[in-house]
Amino acid sequence: MLHAVQRILSAAVGTGHLDPSTPLLTAYPAAAMRVGRGPLALGERDRRELHAVAPGIGFERWTREDAARALLLIAHRAGARTGDRFVADARACFEQGDAREQESWLRAIALWPEAKSFLPDAIEACRTNIVPVFEALACENPFPSQHFPDRNFNQVVLKAMFNSIALERIVGLNARLNPELSRMARDYAAERTAAGRSVPADIDLAMQEPR
């Protein structure tokens, strides 16, 4: 799967930024300056192939720097002697990243065979106040529905509503419906109504009971 992603993203942004002599923690932030910040241009065929190999990831919302950073991590992973090494190095990119670097990192998080190791980082990322960072994980990203325990997944859904984010952007929401989420959504609607405020139009997507 990573081979196909690597091939398509390389064709889209080039590989000029991939200098193996540059340390990862220097190359990762510099990616935007190397490839630019514009939207990632993908042909229809590439898009279809990406969706087939990495379903749920919203590549069409990625920027060129997101793709360049994913390519850096793919190359770094190929050269890492162990999975643990890769996890530690990739985690450093997240922990030391600015908001934009963290967005790139979160958008690519579901690509890695080691993805589950990043669960604590992803849960921590959801505590951010920076909405684009939150969206990078919560929206067009299969990671929360694949890996989050119910309690954390429910917080993602509630926080999305809190930030006026359309619930249809949460990948796999329907499959993760649960009675507690339904109760939380009902309470949220009651709280908004009592405060004289509007209730999100799409709240039913979270309120319905699992089938």
Binding site: R127, M184, E191, A194
Partner: protein
């Protein structure tokens, strides 16, 4: 009208704010320890922050004639990293012992995790040990359940409810809090939490006992004059002066006086401003050092 804002994060505010607050009649404030908008990753960052609340910020307030008190605690948003939280909990006692610390707080729930609950329980123990009241932060998400869980925690710990101030209430949580002996804080924000009109309606419905209002002004969209502005709206809504005075002065003073560290006599006298004073060789003045 004497005004006490019992919850405001002055670290994030400017000297213009201090001047406007003093002009509007605010005499005393409590600055709770909270998070700074993005997570800290080292316990040392907390040491510097707590020292700043007790030192530089108190001095800054004094330069504008405002009495500054603070609460110290590990907030729930940063309680989910077990290594960090253990280190911060270990340094809390030396700060809780300090003069000017009038409560343990803000503590409580955010995501309502087991880690948050463990930190909450430990800090309730510390409050009992240091004979301090507790300032509770209630969560943004799943607020009513979070409020109920907090009250359960206080009861399980056997902590006296009358020494607990539960903050950021709304129409759904206020009846839950008033059914206990805890005090009920309300944060008046421009867009979220509570606004002035709704607050006046709650006072008319529930009265003034154990009711407190604050601005919780911080680094986000907020307004350090929300307590004076709420006073105006309460007046327009026909709430009498004595009731308003109770909400914006008597109640917060009575609550924090339980710490034994709020000198109630003379509290309402605005402290004299002496701008020749310095804090660790620094002053708030720029240039005019006479």
């Amino acid at each position: 009208m004497k005004i006490f804002d019992p919850h405001i994060h002055m670290t994030s505010r400017s000297t213009d704010d201090y001047e406007a607050m003093a002009r509007a009649g605010i005499i005393a404030i409590v600055e709770p320890a909270f998070w700074l908008g993005q997570p800290r990753t080292h316990a040392g960052s907390f040491v510097d922050y707590f020292n700043s609340l007790l030192g530089w910020e108190r001095f800054r307030a004094s330069q504008f004639g405002i009495r500054h008190f603070c609460t110290i605690g590990l907030n729930p948003k940063e309680a989910n990293n077990p290594k960090l939280s253990a280190e911060v909990l270990a340094i809390l006692p030396r700060f809780l012992a300090k003069d000017g610390v009038v409560a343990v707080g803000e503590i409580g729930f955010d995501d309502q995790t087991d880690e948050e609950e463990a930190c909450l329980m430990r800090q309730i123990e510390l409050a009992a040990e240091f004979k301090l009241p507790i300032l509770i932060h209630t969560p943004h998400r799943d607020k009513k359940r979070g409020t109920e869980r907090t009250i359960d925690a206080v009861r399980r710990a056997g902590f006296p409810e009358e020494r607990v101030l539960i903050d950021h209430n709304n129409e759904e949580t206020l009846p839950v809090v008033l059914a206990t002996k805890c005090w009920a804080g309300h944060t008046i924000y421009p867009n979220t939490k509570m606004d002035e009109q709704r607050m006046a309606a709650l006072v008319k419905k529930y009265g003034t006992d154990r009711i407190i209002v604050n601005s919780a002004a911080d680094w986000g969209i907020s307004d350090p004059l929300k307590v004076p502005k709420t006073i105006e709206v309460m007046r327009q809504q026909g709430i009498d002066e004595a009731s308003i005075q109770k909400i914006v002065w008597d109640n917060p003073v009575a609550f924090f006086a339980q710490s034994g560290r709020l000198d109630v006599s003379g509290l309402e006298q605005r402290p004299a401003v002496d701008r020749t004073q310095k804090f660790a060789t620094n002053s708030v003045l720029r240039g005019d050092q006479r």
